[in-house]
Each structure stands twice: as C-alpha cells, then as structure tokens.
Point group: C2
Chain length 140, copies 2
Amino acid sequence: MKRNRHAHNVLPNSLGELELTLLDVVWQMPDSDARTITAELSDERTVSLSTVQSTLERLVRKNLLERKKFSHAYRYRAIQSRSELLGNLLKDVIKLLHDGKAATILSSFVNVADRLDDNALDELEQLIQHKRKETGGNRE
Amino acid sequence: MKRNRHAHNVLPNSLGELELTLLDVVWQMPDSDARTITAELSDERTVSLSTVQSTLERLVRKNLLERKKFSHAYRYRAIQSRSELLGNLLKDVIKLLHDGKAATILSSFVNVADRLDDNALDELEQLIQHKRKETGGNRE
DNA sequence: CTAAAAACCGATTCTGAGTCGAAGTTTCAG
DNA sequence: CTGAAACTTCGACTCAGAATCGGTTTTTAG
C-alpha cells in the first residue's frame, strides 16, 4: 500500500472553490439539473455546462451529492446539509489536532464564538443539560 | 488579479502529511534544527534532510514556524501552539460554512463533542458564564 | 426516426506537496 | 588562514486534485 507519498491535504473532506459554490446552489435549490445550476451560477461567474457537470460528478463521487435521473437529465441533491457538512469538517479538524484534552477543544470553540449572543448562549446551556442526561455522568 | 481559477482548497490553512508530522516534532522539541528533526523522524519514516528542510521552509512561509540561526544551523520553533492552530482551523471552517445562525455552530459542536465528559461540560458552563459577563447581553 | 439535449470521455492547465541531488555558503578546528 | 564538514539554497521532477471545456456518444421526446 503506502499511497501517502503525494497525498495533498491531510484533511479528508477538502473542497474546491467551484465545488463549494455548486453545493451552495444545490442547498438553495434542491433537485436542480446541471443546466439550471449553471444558469444560476452565471450571475456570479461564467462556467461552461461541461465544467459544472464534471464538478457535480466529483461531488457525487465524494458523497456530498446524490443524483437521480428525471426523464433525460440528472437532478442533484445534497446528501449532507450545510450544517452537517460543517459538523463533519469540524470533526475532521478536531481529530487531526485534538490532543486528548477536552479543554483544548472547548477554549478553541469559545474563542471562535466571538459572535455568540445571549440567545445562543442559552441554547448552548440547554444542549449541555441535554448532554448531561444523555451520558449520565461518565469520565474519560 | 483574479488568481482564483486553479486554487485548490478553499480552506486557507491546509496542511500536508509531512508538514503536520514536522509540526508535531517541533511542538515536542522546540528549537531543534533540521538534522535533529530528520533524525527524530527516521523512527516513523525515511525522508532526506533536503526534504525536511524545504518542508520546514514552507512552514515558515505559511507562518506556522519561525527560525533563527544558531551558529551554523537554523533552529525552528512553532509560532502557534497546537491548540491555537486547532482554533484557527476551526475558525476557517466555520467562516466557510456558517450560515449566520449561531445555533448551527452550536449543534455541530455538540455533535462533535461525543467525548465530552462531565468535567468538560462544567468547564464549558463556566466559559459561558464568563462570556455572558463579557458581552453584557447583546443580541444579533 | 431524428434533432436536440444531456451524459460521457478524455485532454489540458495550474497549483501545492513531497522529493532530492548538486551547487553555493558558512563555520570552526587545526 | 585554509579546508573539510555541515548547512542552506536552488532548481528540477513527480504526483495528485481542481478547474476547464470541446467533441463524441447516448438518450429522449416529438
């Protein structure tokens, strides 16, 4: 085996520019076909239908989109929602750099969360309560 | 300008395999030179001194390492700690996919945090209290 | 059956990571 | 002061993934 010699990114779910843009379109308009997506795109950038098609295909291979044929065109739909993807990417990053101490994750998270308002903090507290019941008091 | 046509990864701080490995060594043994680092590495994989040097240089260019000459060799040291890097990567991911609703981040975070034990939850609650005082009750 | 639309199939470019040897430079010991 | 050892720099190359798109084949609806 040993296919690690030229692996690029150590994060498994890496995304290109266009890939993310297309994901955004599909999230906003599920079950669109390549032509529709391309048209939607033209407002921001000009890309040929072919490019869009092969990029969508790559996203299918990456298990980010699924597609089904309707009459003569594939319609694409996201497998993960935006927030699910966010969660998975966060998980990847944490898996990569997390040193075993939960505190490390926590402080990173709170630092990141500059923009948390009071409502958000309320929600977080509720989630903590929920988590406490769920685990019923375990330790590492 | 418009140099976006062939940009690879939409995450700015992408890391390669060897880069991460070298970072790990430098975190564990700060102020080592390339030779020492290479030697340390040989236990896990065999890489030439040149390769290690140019990879270290890339990490300096990426602002992850800094170096200073001691007599005739550069000694390398991390600019960001492991947990700082973790925090920055988390920030990048969130900036990329966060849809404006704090709840999205929060639920992602709690999903990620399978491994949070009671102590960690306590800590998180304290951080929330701290945050509340800091912001003094604002809303989005 | 046929024209249009879509899918499929390469080919090409660009970039970053990894790889390393060879040439150039610095340092220190004698 | 000089030369060998150690280190840095430079350039060249491979590999892989993203983006790009034109041409060919397949599918479908009228």
